[in-house]
């Protein structure tokens, strides 16, 4: 099948050819427009920063807003006060497409987090072709249990994070430090919930946790870094859907949207710039959370998305999760820009043949429009590939190299023909940054795909599509899966000695070789070893739970197509995990002054894992 991924957007109600006299039925708007900052408040109105996102319309949205997926609760833990919740269904708000961007109006903040989280949810549902859900748990008596809670002003800290236990996003606000020429005044309040990137990043943490609950467990340098990288990838790809900002970037970069700097509005010629229009601004497309970065001081450089150039050895030495994550981000964006350039080469050639100028700041507007269209489309492809690949990852202990194999396999499953070479570009970008596929024979596309399972596994019987816990087939499928896992342990990469837990079971779609859409399933089977001592020679050392398991991709009839395993009996993996914990413990300041805890996870891991 050719790579034509445009999918018709669902519309609320079909328009029926109406009989002449029937009264017109008011059509429910399928989408609700809401104003947000494309980046953050510091860019003002420049570069298309005031934008409108369209999210699915929820007619019975409650003040908060409290909708189907999220509940915005504006409780300030510092002031110990609630701020008045916005009612987005109020006529005055509806008519003006939401409240206007403002730093001093908390109701705009509430609107922005509601809009951006929902926008991110929508991306995931679009890519996965199914409804998302949040991590299980919560108080059964809580009426908001099914929703992600979002606190736009929870704490006074230069931080924002996803809390798994509360199943909530908590955003902080803080006073900026003084820095030369900063966009922030010293002492000015910076709201993390007004940074589009920060909100999309935290929402992605929650979404990934809903899909793969074990990925928040730090098991190696790569696991926490993966969570951070993935969140950054989704936040960054979102930039390319902002039409106005993208158009301006294309204009001012001559189509080279990966350029770190944009052309000035007016050329300063050969002299140093004298007025602001002669300055070369940084390219907001490839920058993450600008205001936040400036307020944080010297760390800002760390979050530049394209931080790790090809042929760098960073992968061997960088350990801080956010910085290590930026290697993976750089690999994905290298592939993305490569494909964008390939897809637009013909346009540029035609433009050149027609004698059009390709100088930055001087692009023909038709051309710029076409380039923007290609950039948006390519970004959407990449975002989909990345999100779909999550279904093809092992259930625990994800390595960057596993993700590479998941990307290639997932994309091959959906799109057989790959004329622009997406997969080759991805593999090459990873190779150039020293990220190696786990257990693959070579860098060929075929070897990078997960292998077919060993023969002789009969299909798993008793699987049924299910709609949730209320569905009687719900438990049945889980029981069938754990029995199946136990019976075929060796072939599925599971340990034969240990209990198999069917951890998740979801429908997944793919396109068969005949071009037909096929339904299948993805299931996580998980196993564990309790109370493993950190030091094998010292029974009194802190302990941890060691997880293993296998992700199964199954056809509708239960045939196993892939079994993507992380063995519980893999002693090498266990040793590596021990080494990682030891290293982590010695890098933490508090461990010098306090006795090591009984459980390794009582170490302040939260500190590394949480936060933007």
């Amino acid at each position: 099948m050719q790579r034509s991924r445009a999918r018709s957007r669902r519309v609320g109600a079909a328009i029926v050819a109406s009989p002449q006299l029937a009264a017109p039925v008011p059509r429910i708007l399928p989408e609700r427009p809401l104003k947000v900052y494309a980046f953050d408040p510091t860019l003002g109105r420049s570069l298309g920063n005031h934008m409108t996102v369209r999210i699915p319309y929820e007619p019975d949205l409650k003040p908060g807003p409290i909708g189907k997926y999220i509940a915005v609760i504006d409780y300030d833990g510092v002031q110990k006060k609630y701020y008045r919740p916005v009612n987005l269904n109020e006529a005055s708000v509806l008519l003006s497409g939401g409240i206007d961007p403002s730093e001093s109006n908390p109701q705009f903040h509430q609107q922005m987090v509601y809009a951006v989280v929902n926008e991110t949810v929508r991306r995931f549902e679009f890519a996965l072709g199914r409804r998302i859900r949040w991590r299980r748990g919560g108080d059964p008596k809580d009426p908001l249990r099914q929703k992600l809670k979002v606190f736009p002003h929870a704490i006074a800290a230069a931080n924002a994070f996803y809390d798994r236990e509360m199943r909530a996003l908590l955003f902080g606000y803080f006073a900026a430090e003084s820095a030369d020429f900063s966009v922030n005044l010293p002492g000015q309040l910076v709201f993390t919930c007004l940074s589009h990137d920060v909100v999309a990043h935290e929402a992605t943490h929650a979404l990934v946790d809903g899909l793969r609950e074990h990925f928040t467990e730090p098991t190696s340098l790569d696991t926490p870094a993966f969570h951070e990288a993935f969140a950054d990838i989704i936040a960054l790809f979102q930039h390319f859907s902002y039409k106005e900002a993208l158009l301006e970037t294309i204009q001012r970069s001559g189509g080279f949207i990966h350029a770190p700097q944009l052309a000035p509005e007016t050329s300063p010629g050969n002299r140093t710039p004298l007025v602001q229009t002669e300055l070369t601004p940084t390219n907001p497309m490839v920058e993450l959370a600008r205001q936040f970065g400036e307020a944080m001081g010297p760390r800002k450089a760390l979050r530049a998305a394209l931080g790790t150039p090809p042929e760098s050895l960073d992968i061997d030495v960088v350990t801080e999760p956010h910085v290590r994550g930026s290697i993976l981000v750089a690999a994905i964006f290298d592939a993305f820009f490569t494909i964008y350039i390939r897809r637009t080469r013909d346009l540029l050639r035609i433009a050149r043949a027609g004698g059009l100028s390709l100088t930055a700041g001087d692009l023909n507007s038709d051309l710029a429009n076409r380039l923007a269209g290609e950039a948006t489309k390519t970004a959407q492809h990449f975002q989909n590939i990345c999100i779909r690949a999550l279904d093809y990852c092992p259930p625990v202990d994800i390595q960057f190299g596993d993700f590479l194999r998941a990307l290639i396999t997932a994309d091959t499953d959906l799109v057989q023909e790959d004329p622009f070479g997406y997969r080759a570009a991805i593999a090459e970008a990873f190779r150039l940054r020293g990220i190696r596929p786990v257990n693959a024979a070579s860098w060929s596309e075929e070897s990078l795909c997960w292998p077919d399972p060993e023969g002789g596994i009969s299909p798993c019987q008793g699987l049924q599509p299910q709609r949730g816990a209320a569905d009687p087939s719900f438990r049945g499928s889980y029981i069938a899966l754990s029995k199946f896992g136990k019976a075929n342990a060796a072939a599925l990469g599971l340990s034969q000695e240990t209990k198999v837990q069917a951890f998740s079971f979801r429908p997944v779609h793919r396109v068969g070789p005949d071009g037909q859409l096929r339904l299948g399933y993805v299931a996580e089977l998980v196993q564990k070893r309790d109370k493993v001592p950190l030091d094998p020679q010292d029974a009194k050392s802190p302990t941890f739970t060691f997880h293993g398991g296998s992700t199964l991709l199954l056809d509708a009839d239960g045939t196993v197509r892939y079994a993507i395993a992380k063995g519980l009996d893999d002693e090498k993996r266990l040793a590596a995990q021990r080494g990682y914990y030891e290293r982590l413990a010695t890098s933490m300041a508090a461990t010098a002054y306090r006795e090591p805890p009984e459980e390794i996870f009582e170490l302040p891991f939260a500190a590394i894992h949480r936060g933007f």
């Binding site: 609760i73 833990g77 010098a592």
Partner: protein, 407 residues
């Protein structure tokens, strides 16, 4: 002191309690030359011997120190320089060394210092506002803060060269000093602290500003972020938060700044001047209190394994705490002659020294390691493990251990 021409380097470790005071004597052609590395003790870990130690230094050196090093600005390394300033002003002192982070002419250092000072002040304010019961609970944190504060008198003396014309010099990683303090035959290679931006970023106090919420002296709170008209009186109308949720948010909002205190303490430890001395073909490493970040920096260097393999003497960093001597460093350290000294005791922090770490160093040095608290004092003091048999090359005095390195 006209004795036979000495043929060995002597390292004298004074038992001052929780603190460092090392006197190194080199057999220079001109006669014995003395280098004093740190002189301080933590107020909650003071065993009352530091004054006698200073008197002993005066006697042994005939009041002449070629070089005084203050590795970093922590009480347990510099307090003696302030407290006994009058005595030190009677010395002849050639040079005073400090890390570049103490250089008042260096804008980067000044800025870092300001940040640290502001964070320390906020921490002190926070803990001053706590009821006594909470103070007890946070004992280990308070001790970290004690260590950070009140070091100005000592630093003033050091910056002034004790008023005796000592030359004050500041060092950063990558520098090299030939014949420091005019000691012929002595070289010093400086391994830390680095001054690159990545490292500096790690020196910053953590960004979390939850201590904004700490009650200031008069009980006032941080200013509200929004105008009063936006405040909803009472609870959220339809969906009140549960007690558990409110508690979780409160916990995040008012998280005690333990992590900040420890991180700040570690940040200053990591400003430690790390000096590798070489004399007569012997190498002595004095890493101050360098912790994870500082070591990490130079261990990544190409010749780090060679440096490590040549070391004959190690002053164990940061009193033998868990994250002050990387495993990689111990594994690659020293040849057959490696020896080590650790100035430590388990007061005020029971988890220092870290026993498995000391055990690893003991193995690596083939038992040529002593810890200062093994020395019996007349005064009541925490007792470390007794030494059955003094390892070769080590001797002990009233309040010190000596190790001599033949050259």
């Amino acid at each position: 002191m006209a004795k036979d021409k000495p043929t060995s380097i002597r390292v004298r470790m004074y038992r001052v309690g929780f603190g460092d005071c090392f006197l190194v004597t080199f057999p220079a052609p001109s006669g014995p030359e003395h280098v004093l590395v740190d002189c301080g003790v933590h107020e909650r870990g003071d065993v009352g011997t530091i004054q006698k130690a200073v008197e002993n230094i005066a006697e042994v050196t005939d009041r002449k120190l070629a070089l005084v090093i203050a590795t970093h600005a922590h009480q347990d390394h510099v307090s003696g320089f302030g407290k006994f300033a009058a005595q030190f002003r009677k010395f002849r002192i050639g040079e005073v060394w400090m890390p570049w982070t103490e250089d008042r002419q260096n804008p980067k250092a000044v800025k870092l210092k300001q940040k640290h000072r502001a964070a320390i002040a906020r921490l002190q304010m926070y803990f001053a506002s706590l009821p006594p019961s909470a103070e007890q609970r946070a004992g280990d944190v308070l001790q970290a803060i004690n260590n950070l504060a009140g070091n100005e008198p000592a630093l003033e003396q050091l910056h002034a060269g004790f008023g005796v014309g000592a030359k004050v010099r500041f060092w950063k990683a990558g520098s090299f000093a030939s014949a420091p303090g005019d000691i012929i035959g002595l070289d010093a290679r400086i391994l830390g602290p680095p001054d690159d931006p990545d490292f500096l970023a790690r020196m910053d106090p953590p960004p979390s500003q939850h201590y904004l919420t700490a009650k200031t002296g008069d009980g006032a709170q941080a200013p509200p972020p929004f105008a009063a008209k936006w405040i909803q009186e009472g609870a959220f109308p339809e969906y009140p938060l549960s007690k558990g949720e409110l508690a979780s948010i409160q916990k995040y909002a008012e998280e005690p700044p333990d992590a900040l205190a420890f991180a700040l303490d570690q940040a200053i430890n990591n400003t430690s001047l790390v000096a590798l001395f070489s004399f007569g073909g012997k190498y002595l490493l004095f890493p101050g209190d360098a912790q994870y970040g500082n070591w990490q920096y130079w261990l990544q260097g190409q010749d780090s394994n060679r440096i490590l393999s040549e070391i004959d003497f190690l002053k164990v960093s940061h009193h033998g705490s868990l994250n002050a001597t990387p495993k990689q460093a111990i594994d690659n350290m020293g040849g057959a002659s490696l020896a080590a000294m650790v100035s430590t005791q388990n007061k005020p922090w029971p988890s220092i020294p870290r026993l498995p770490l000391l055990e690893a160093i003991r193995k690596r040095t083939r038992n040529r390691m002593v810890r200062s608290d093994s020395l019996q004092l007349k005064e009541p003091a925490p007792k470390g493990p007794a030494i059955d048999r003094m390892p070769a090359g080590f001797t002990q005095g009233d309040m010190w251990f000596d190790y001599s390195i033949p050259i």
